[in-house]
Each structure stands twice: as structure tokens, then as C-alpha cells.
Symmetry: C2
Subunit: 160 residues, 2 copies
DNA sequence: TATTGTTATACTCTATAACTATA
DNA sequence: TATAGTTATAGAGTATAACAATA
């Protein structure tokens, strides 16, 4: 199947032509991220005092109790010192704790505290509600399809 | 229509569970961006000596000759000093030029030089080729759908 | 008064290098 | 030798504040 002709080539905000950039996935991801970042900053960041990276890290720890910091670094494609700094902050706020592993004493196993689990849960509820509201212009099928296709692109990481 | 059950909730790289994050658009955008950023860094950044922001800015100037810096700032959702710095770099490399507007003497109109137009064109060809190669696992319809849905999300910027 | 653009400055995020402890 | 994690440090990228010129 041939790729169909692409529609109106103009940026959402600036009314600039973007015929070329329209077909570039990286650019469209960046533009869409402007929207989700703005939503997050406006309605979630202050309320829960969680920056995007903190929220993501906390949620991954909640869902993966006992996971190591090295695994988090790989999952988020950031450096190890980076993870250390973020975990430091979450630990100071008593949202997660480090536990020495018995089997491999180099490893730090991470667990979320009850406080951390509660905060992550509340933040998630807020984000989902917020995105649901903002994405009303997309049908449920479109929203589902978008998430699945993005997940598929994310999965390509192993191949590059 | 109800949203269908979501499939395997694991991160592409780290094999971490992410049941919650799977439904969060902001997270999936970030994960997909890891892939496109890696592709760009690996195959385009060095070859053309253009960082992502520089490529985007240059391309927008190529496609919008005479546009102002204020419009670029809006289109990319960054601050004015930021745009000044990026344009400075592109101008030093003789890829774009600033021109004083006659009608509004506060405004700087931007134009790409022949050199800038050529470089942008070459970089675009490379990026498209690279993304095509990397996205082979997605059908043409899926790729088209993804770009359209992302554009639709980007267009929501006006509404938030 | 408001807007365009610049300069000065500081903050956030991330990375590399060097190190310790362990495997 | 290689890996997990930390510390120190530097580099991107971005933002706010203050300013000049113009509308």
C-alpha cells in the first residue's frame, strides 16, 4: 500500500508551514510532547510535587518492587548517576527505600513505601483524568491505537 | 466504544512491568522519543553537525522564509532568548540570515541561505531514509496513522 | 502600554570520568 | 575483568529578569 498524501502542513501553534517536518516522526513526537508536558506541568507537577522524571521513576519502582537501579537506567535510557540523583530525592521524601541485596551485595533493590505507593496512585489518577479530558477530540479507538503504535515504536529500541 | 484491554505491559528495554504507565500518553511519547533520538544522534547529528533543535529550526526557516523569531518561539514552545541563541549559531555558520523588517522595525525576518537550504534538504533525506529503515516493523498504514494521530495531539495545544 | 529581540544570569537535566565494592 | 552504584564535575538546554527599540 502506498502512503496517502498528507494533509494541511502547518504547526499547531505558530501557523508555520511544516510540509517536510510533517512526515518526520521525531518532530511529531516532540510536538505532541509539548501538549502532554504542558498538561502535566499545569495540573500535576505542583499538586503532587513530582517532576515528570520523578513520577515515572516512582511508578516504575511501585510496579517493580525489588528492582535494581541499573534496570531503571536501562528502561529510561539515562545514565547511572542520573538514576542515583533521582532516587536520592525520592528517598529523602520517604517515597522509596534502598535495600541491599543479599544475593549480590553490589545491587540496591528499590521498594516504594506506603506513602510512595499512595502518591503514585493519586498522581496516576490525576494524569489519566487530565489526559482523558484533553484528548476528548480523539475517539477511544484513536487513543488506543496511538498508545499501541507508540509502544510498538518504543519496542524498536532493542533493534537499533 | 469501550477501550480494549491493553497487551503485555513491559518496557522495551528494561523488561520492567509498566501496567500503569502503558496507558499514559506522556510516558509512551517519551519512550518512543528515545528511539527517534537515538536514531538521529547515531546517523544524522555528526554527519551534518546539526543538533535536533538546529535541524528543526533550520527546516522551519527554510519552509517559512521571512518568518519572525517570535513565531518560531511559539511554534516550538520555547523562550525568546532560546531562539536568539539557536539563530546565532545558525547565522554564524551562514545557514540563515537575519533581515530587518521594513513594516515593523522591531522584527527580524529570517531566511535560509542556499547553503542552509541544501543542508536542510540533505539532512531531511537522511532522516526520512533512517526512519523508514527503522520503522520497517510498522506497516505503511500504521506509520501514516501514527503521524496523523500525533499531529492531532499536537493540534490540541491551542485548546489547553 | 505592549511587543520584538538581546544580554546576563541561573536552574534543570544529563553525561563522562574516577572511584569503591563486589562478582 | 566486568558490573553496580556513588561522587565530582562539566556540558547541554532552558527559563526568568532587565533592558533597548519600536509599535
Amino acid at each position: 500500500m502506498a502512503i496517502a498524501k498528507l494533509p494541511t502542513p502547518s504547526t499547531p501553534a505558530g501557523r508555520l508551514h511544516e510540509a517536510t517536518l510533517h512526515s518526520i516522526l521525531g518532530y511529531q513526537l516532540a510536538q505532541a510532547s509539548i501538549v502532554t508536558n504542558a498538561l502535566y506541568t499545569k495540573h500535576t507537577a505542583q499538586v503532587f510535587d513530582l517532576r515528570p522524571a520523578e513520577y515515572t521513576l516512582l511508578t516504575l519502582v511501585v510496579e517493580n518492587p525489588g528492582g535494581s537501579m541499573a534496570r531503571l537506567a536501562k528502561a529510561l535510557a539515562v545514565s547511572a548517576p542520573n538514576i542515583t540523583a533521582w532516587v536520592d530525592r525520592l528517598e529523602k521524601r520517604e517515597l522509596v527505600v534502598r535495600e541491599k541485596s543479599e544475593s549480590d551485595k553490589r545491587t540496591q533493590m528499590l521498594r516504594a513505601t506506603a506513602k510512595g505507593i499512595k502518591l503514585a496512585s493519586q498522581a496516576t489518577a490525576k494524569i489519566l483524568e487530565m489526559e482523558k479530558q484533553a484528548l476528548k477530540g480523539l475517539s477511544a479507538l484513536e487513543q488506543y491505537t496511538l498508545l499501541e503504535l507508540l509502544h510498538k515504536v518504543g519496542s524498536l529500541r532493542a533493534t537499533i
